[in-house]
């Protein structure tokens, strides 16, 4: 593994705000942020949590992450279903991305069953509310460990 000296590993957590989910299924990154930061700290990792309403801003952050972060957790919200720009931005990264959907994608309307970013992510975690973010963190930590 590449040495990063004393620099802590950093994962960028990207959430697209205001998705059109049912109110009961809507949960924001803010609800889980402190748990994420705590769990990351336990693993010796820093998390950079960012929420966006604009697709283009997510693309900018992904490009930034290329040089500064070791992994991505992304819940793109609405743009996940159509954004080729996001897909290309993730595909261009050389760090692993994990896609998160707090609601179960397959329980949403048919047009939301397929995310265009799933194929360029390492894996997908969908359906566990905000706990999906914590599972994604666990998954990324495991990937960095390079075990099994």
């Amino acid at each position: 593994m590449e040495s990063v000296g004393l620099k802590k590993k950093t994962f960028m957590v990207i959430a697209g705000a205001n998705t059109t989910l049912l109110a009961a299924e809507r949960s924001s990154l803010a609800d889980i942020r402190s748990s994420l930061e705590r769990k990351a700290a336990e693993c010796g990792i820093a998390v950079d949590c960012r929420e966006f309403t604009r697709e283009g801003d997510m693309v900018i952050s992904l490009q930034e992450a290329a040089g500064t972060c070791d992994g991505i957790i992304i819940n793109a919200g609405e743009p996940a279903y159509f954004s080729d720009a996001l897909r290309s931005a993730i595909d261009a990264l050389r760090i692993p991305s994990v896609e998160v959907c707090t609601a179960h994608m397959h329980n949403l309307e048919e047009s939301r069953h397929a995310s265009v970013i799933s194929p360029v992510c390492v894996g997908v975690i969908s359906g566990f509310g905000t706990y999906s973010y914590l599972l994604a963190l666990d998954a990324l930590v495991h990937l960095q460990d390079g075990t099994g």
């Binding site: 194929p119 390492v122 998954a139």
Partner: protein, 147 residues
């Protein structure tokens, strides 16, 4: 009482470590089960791992989980994409079920993008190799805590 979780491996998963290692990795199903049992011990839960290649046998096993298991972690393999019998068994069992896959099915052939089980499962985890099962175990336990 200790929570009980069943892990179910569907068709061809008994061939792990031998078939298509590029996709599924070098770990055998026994290795994966050993990791799961170790994790279960750490979590203080009871775990039972089951494998069958036969759709009907998996249906029977899922039925037997009713009232007996607090959660199911299911890798139904190829049955994921077309087995209405498994879907009905999950509905009937009324046990929270997490769908897991070793590979990221969305990177693969389009027939693997469809899961007929997804609507009756609480969620889906795919792409993390054998670690998908461990994540699934955590997910199904968390579901019981915060339904």
């Amino acid at each position: 009482m200790r929570k009980r979780v069943a892990v179910i491996h569907g068709p061809n998963l008994n061939m792990l470590g031998k078939r298509e290692i590029g996709i599924y990795g070098g770990k055998s199903m026994e290795d994966i089960n050993n990791d799961l049992y170790a994790e279960a011990k750490k979590l203080g839960i009871e775990l039972e791992c089951y494998q069958s290649n036969v759709e009907g046998e998996i249906v029977t096993f899922i039925q037997q989980c009713r009232g007996r298991a607090d959660g199911i972690v299911l890798n139904a393999g190829a049955y994921t994409h077309y087995s209405i019998a498994l879907r009905d068994a999950i509905s009937a069992a009324e046990v929270p079920t997490v769908e897991v896959h070793i590979s990221n099915v969305y990177k693969r052939e389009s027939f693997r993008h469809v899961s007929v089980l997804a609507p009756v499962c609480i969620g889906q985890i795919c792409g993390f190799g054998p670690y998908s099962y461990i994540l699934g175990l955590h997910a199904v336990l968390e579901h019981k805590v915060n339904p």
